[in-house]
Point group: C2
Chain length 338, copies 2
């Protein structure tokens, strides 16, 4: 049993998403709270830019929940930069108790799951969570300096510049939870490594981890694919999502008609030249917090399975010839009841 069940169904009472200019030119533009016109966000380094986004988004999530920072019991966040500096330097000024998490691009799933544990378990009234990434700081950390103008391979993805944050409330003591999307369960994934070495094909490395956790979710809960209106992975991209559908079909689970991927949705791959699609911690975080949260809140989506996915390699492991371990976490969310 890999699944955490949340009997009280804690509520996601707000989300906030702030993204960069390229994301603002994509199909989901209208769903983000703020599209910044420059990618620097007023900072003088890429790392500080990412922290500026984190800080602004987390503050906005608290404000949209109608709360003050002092109301927040715990903050959960992480990102792709070395030693999670995107998050920590952004959260520093919040002055709230902080628990750092790391699941690469699956981080927002871990934030949702642990926020649900803390609120459902009676340890917190309000938890602020989120995850971020920045195209420029990620390229610097994992690939090539931007100034080189290196050509991208066809299966490469484009790291999302953005942060998606949320406030989760315990079911008792907060606002009327029936008006909000609620977290019912989360299935925690194992680290899966199928021997993929191509760091420009993350979708292939992560698809087996997503398949494994989705299968475990169905087994643990007794649910089937058709019980969900939307089964949404984090950043498998076009090729990784195809692979996931195929892997699950081989195991008897058909998600071909009710699944998609945040990395596919956030960019118009052809027009925006993003190849496989969007990726990065901020991808699932901002697409969930912007696009899907609204549909859960209005009740258009009644049951959603969000499966943020992460590749756990870095530039050193790639240089040392290591394969790419991957992880995913599946979070089940009900739409608002009204």
């Amino acid at each position: 049993m890999q699944t955490l069940f949340f009997k009280t169904k804690p509520a996601i009472i707000s989300t906030a998403c702030i993204v960069g200019p390229k994301e603002g030119q994509g199909p989901l533009s209208e769903h983000f709270d703020k599209v910044n016109t420059d990618v620097e966000f007023g900072a003088d380094s890429w790392e500080k830019s990412e922290s500026a986004i984190v800080s602004a988004t987390m503050n906005l999530a608290v404000q949209k929940a109608g709360l003050q920072l002092d109301d927040i019991n715990f903050v959960l966040a992480g990102d792709l930069l070395n030693q999670s500096i995107g998050s920590t330097f952004g959260i520093r000024a919040l002055g709230r108790p902080f628990l750092g998490i790391f699941g690469a691009c699956s981080t927002v799933g871990e934030a949702l799951a642990l926020a649900a544990v803390l609120t459902d378990g009676g340890y917190a009234q309000y938890v602020l969570g989120g995850a971020s990434s920045h195209f420029c700081s990620a390229e610097k950390t994992f690939r090539f300096p931007l100034g080189l103008g290196t050509q991208r391979t066809p299966t490469a993805s484009w790291t999302v510049t953005g942060d998606g944050s949320f406030v989760m409330s315990a079911s008792a003591g907060g606002p009327d939870v029936d008006h909000y999307p609620r977290v019912t369960a989360a299935t925690v994934g194992k680290i899966i490594d199928m021997g993929i070495k191509d760091t420009n094909n993350m979708g292939a490395a992560m698809a087996p981890a997503a398949a494994d956790v989705i299968i475990n979710h169905f087994q643990d809960t007794g649910l089937k694919p058709s019980d969900y209106d939307a089964i949404v992975t984090g950043d498998l991209g076009i090729y990784g999502h195809d692979l996931l559908v195929q892997l699950l079909l081989e195991k008897g689970y058909d998600i071909s008609n009710n699944s998609t991927d945040c990395g596919i949705l956030i960019f118009d791959s052809e027009k925006q030249d993003t190849h496989a699609g969007g990726s990065g911690c901020g991808c699932a975080a901002s697409v969930f917090g912007g696009y899907f949260y609204k549909q859960l809140k209005s009740g258009i989506i009644k049951r959603m399975l969000l499966i943020p996915t992460g590749a756990l390699m870095n530039s050193i492991t790639a240089q040392q010839g290591e394969t790419i371990p991957a992880i995913a976490i599946a979070v089940a969310i009900e739409g608002a009841a009204r």
Copy 2:
């Protein structure tokens, strides 16, 4: 209120500690399960060495608990390397659901706190947790290549090569918890940044974070310093610990007679030329799991407050002129009752 209270007092039913040769020459040598004679641990890179220690130590913790890997519901771990590759590549083969955490050198405190939440909250029977560091991989990541032979400043610390892991059990359903140390509460720290920029004086950067969380712990619990037999910080070292005692005294809390620091204990600073003392995620993890766990289990220590401390900077933030944010987490542990 920053404190998590664990009504059922989950039990730490095993610990395991594997360290490197220098730690084996220190005063705590006899308390570790295994002292490796070479620092490579049979691997061909420093990063792989650290993962080898993680894997061996976590397997040993499970074995010492009398369990199989399949009995473990969740694994919580983190380390200092970029994107936590020390942990993830070590844990990959365990095949258990994984939640990555990051609190720099405070990581084992976060592992203990979240393991207690998961077991106390009824979400898990057994949680495997731990944290690791490796002198050589840490020097490569944060400071200078070892081959340069760079001289160390007087306030510099020496990153511990080692891993400390534990298995925590819910109070019901496992072995008789009265025979084991039990976690009663954990106070989660805020990120505190007092403007220190010297990355060779981590103790000064982290002492205010430790002081803040300790004060909050006393305020939240109504306890006072004399209620604890041992108040033990993670890796403040000689100078940082002095500073902490002073900072707390100014606020009316006297810990001068019942406190120490894992970084002070693990090395004989004078003989082993470790300057301020030991540091790294593996410092608090191995000294707690080896030295203090035995005293809690035998009942010599009846109440302990363990406060692993972490500096949240990295080489990039230092180069960009940033100050050093720090964090700490205070975990209250009762000795075995028998």
